[in-house]
Amino acid sequence: MPDAVLAGVGGQGTVLSTRVLAEAALLSGYDVKTSEVHGMAQRGGSVTSAVRWGEKVFSPLVPRGTADFMLAFEMLEGLREVGCLAPHGIAIVNPYRMDPLPVLRGDAVYPEDALERIMERAGKTVIVPARELALEAGSLRAMGSCLLGALSVFVDFPEEAWRKAIEEFCPTEYVDVNLKAFDLGKRLGASER
């Protein structure tokens, strides 16, 4: 039963990506469960969500140390959640840095080696420069689709499931941008496989 954990900063679009991934799993014929965070945690704080799929899923929360995939929308948040991964787990990381307020204020230090530490812990790490790819696709708001594109290389969902999921859940005017972002991420993922 594959599990994916999505880690990022509130406002980065993790909830939308969670929905797209879950829908793609459903369209691929699996039982699916997600858990999401809404409300206060979305105001620029750490957010994690999870998608689990398989024959039959019970808990919407992923037991620690068992996830097959982690999608990190930001490096520090990726490092924070990397313990969710099974030893063989794949980290798909946007090498993007957003300083949290304690760092902005100089009360704490951003771990400069966040990416290295993720790579050390994960079974495999795929670096997806989602900000650049999303801009290339046409909008910063498509970062999540870049990461999903890279993930798509490692899961057995038919291409059609992904595209339908993106079409269904991304705002109409951003569907093309997100499909393009997905393709860019997928190309990058394929080269890392």
Partner: protein, 603 residues
């Protein structure tokens, strides 16, 4: 035709209520319950409203049910505190058409001020309670709840939790289903007017209904025994059922879905097959204590935490030892212990990322100015609570919705009689948002005027209910359905209750805001300052012109950093603005003495 779709628990409740023929639905937004009404409002046949608070929402639902139409009220756990007065007597009078109260708990406090356990409200009011374990059950149980409600002439409490409300699970949906319910209304004052003489007649009726409900629960199909390993018996409900099945897939499980009143015979029968049973429930030992009161050897909170969320790891760890002693199969061993690796150990040392006020947030300007005006600030529930963090350190105390003003009144009364805190007297601010003010602040504002307490009330009017995701409220001029309506005039309201000093400021203008706050704090009578500007996430201008810092002019004084804006950081010992995040509010530029911060276009 049936389709398989992914629905959150909240979406499933809304769909179930629609299919059950709900005609009236009312709520006040509150995480994790908010989306129930948002989803319901998409059905054109259903009258929906954002009520001014949860008490009104429940009362609207009660009225509709008495009037012969099925109704739904939705709220978060602490919302039921507000609605509790109506809730506690509703069970005496009964409903006529069905009424379901959906209440979402927030174990772990993802977005709440406490983690109270709603189940006790069913116990106190003697109301039936159902708890779904996933979205499919949520959909089905709402419909069951309406049948139970009408059969027993009682409201039904549908208890949800964050991981039910905000988890998406697969639901089989049938289109074109909707029951039609239209029951006659007839006056029945003995049943519905709770003067003491009538209430004394109704209480025994309620008690006998509770007995009938208990018998009903014994054969209620959703209370389910799943026999497995005959040595390990677990009693559970709600989302915990999923954690139990994940952690102990072989165990025998009694999955309770009607958790009040409890099916005593079913419980005794199940528990008698085991030397002892385990009770897996979040928060309080609600089920466990009931089992113990029946004389059943139940293990629960001695092993399982009484606070925070549970998950499969916690359940597995907590019960592993005893289950093995019972001769049961140990839990599927995840590498929890192994996951205590370097990465996890290091987690505690990573810089935290608390939620913050957004770039361009109008609250930031108000709190900056308030900090300079040196006041004791009694705060409230909303995005502005985030000002509690450094560098703004904007709030002294906060309890619940609407408490901002009341606490301020008491603080002022204490300070003005104190020698130790005398310098704080006359410098007390009670502060709350527009929606919160309407929810529960107005009676306290009247109290301030009536009792002549010289406090300054600040209403942070950002024209929306921001924290829960931008819901309309009586001040926005729009209903939940997007129709135009009267917009409450906060100035006129303040004047009408007798506040003579009412000021309006634009919090993006720091100096002016500070000046007004100083004047109102200095005034020796009650005053109201309305800090008015639309939420920066909600009201985006056509084109945002971000600011930038000219590093040649920046003298690294860090005055701008005192705003705590997430778009501002230090880079190479100079202030730096992230152009992706900046909303162009100009507050940092107003603080810069060197005029080093300017609009990007001018660069």
């Amino acid at each position: 035709m049936k389709r398989k779709v992914l629905l959150s628990g909240n979406e499933a409740v809304a769909l179930g209520a629609y299919q059950a023929g709900v005609a009236v639905a009312a709520a006040y937004p509150g995480t994790p319950s908010t989306q129930i009404l948002e989803e319901m409002s998409k059905f054109p046949e259903v009258y929906c409203e954002w009520s001014s608070n949860e008490k009104v929402a429940l009362e609207v639902a009660i009225g509709a049910a008495l009037g012969g139409k099925r109704s739904l009220a939705a709220m978060k756990h602490v919302g039921l505190n507000v609605a509790a007065d109506s809730w506690m007597t509703l069970t005496y009078i009964g409903v006529n058409a069905g009424l379901v109260l959906a209440v979402a708990d927030d174990p772990g406090m993802h977005s709440s001020q406490n983690e109270q356990d709603t189940r006790y409200y069913a116990l106190m009011a003697k109301a039936p309670m159902l708890e779904p374990s996933d979205s499919q059950e949520a959909l089905e149980l709402v419909k069951e709840a309406f049948h139970i409600s009408e059969r027993f002439d009682l409201p039904v409490l549908l208890r949800l939790e964050t991981r039910i409300s905000h988890s998406r699970t697969v639901v089989e949906v049938e289109d074109g289903v909707r029951e039609e319910v239209d029951l006659p209304y007839s006056k029945d004052a003995v049943k519905r007017v709770m003067v003491p003489a009538h209430a004394r007649l109704r209480h025994p009726v309620l008690l006998s209904k509770l007995e009938e409900l208990r018998r009903f629960g014994e054969s209620f199909a959703y209370n389910r025994v799943e026999m497995g390993d005959p040595r390990v018996g677990i009693v559970t409900s709600g989302v915990c059922y999923q954690y139990v099945r994940e952690a102990f897939p072989e165990a025998s499980v009694l999955k309770l879905t009607m958790t009040h009143p409890l099916p005593e015979r079913l419980l005794r029968d199940f528990c008698s097959r085991f030397r002892r049973v385990y009770v897996v429930e979040e928060l309080e030992p609600f089920l466990e204590n009931s089992l113990k009161a029946m004389g059943i050897d139940a293990v629960g909170k001695s092993r399982i935490p009484r606070m925070g969320e549970l998950n499969p790891d916690i359940v597995a760890e907590a019960l592993r030892e005893l289950v093995e002693l019972d001769g049961g199969k140990p839990p599927k061993l995840w590498p929890s212990a192994a996951a205590e690796d370097k990465a996890t150990e290091d987690k505690a040392e990573l810089p935290p990322r608390p939620p913050v006020m957004c770039p361009g947030c109008p609250h930031r300007g108000l709190f900056f100015a308030l900090g300079r005006a040196r006041a004791t600030v009694s705060g409230d529930i909303g995005c502005y609570t985030l000002s509690v963090l450094p560098p703004l350190n904007g709030i002294d105390c906060q309890v619940c919705m609407g408490a901002g003003i009341g606490l301020a009144l008491g603080l002022e009364r204490a300070f003005s009689q104190s020698e130790l805190n005398a310098e704080r007297a006359g410098r007390v601010v009670g502060l709350l948002g527009d929606s919160t003010f309407i929810h529960a602040g107005i009676p306290a504002l009247i109290d301030m005027v009536y009792n002549k307490t010289p406090v300054t009330v600040v209403i942070l009017d950002n024209r929306t209910t921001a924290m829960t995701g931008f819901q309309d409220h009586p001040g926005t001029g729009r209903t939940i359905k997007g129709e135009e309506t009267h917009a409450l005039d906060l100035e006129a309201l303040s004047l009408a209750v007798g506040v003579r000093r009412v000021r309006v400021v634009d919090p993006w203008r720091l100096e002016e805001t500070e000046e007004v706050l100083r004047e109102e704090l200095a005034a020796s009578e009650p005053s109201v300052v309305i800090s008015r500007r639309g939420c920066s996430l909600r009201e985006r201008p056509e084109k945002v012109v971000p600011f930038w810092v000219d590093p040649d002019d920046c003298d690294s004084c860090w005055r701008c950093m005192r705003l705590g804006c997430p778009a501002l950081s230090r880079r190479d010992e100079k202030a730096w603005i992230d152009g992706d995040l900046c909303r162009g509010c100009s507050m940092c530029a107003q603080l810069c003495r060197k005029e080093a911060i300017e609009e990007v276009e001018h660069a």
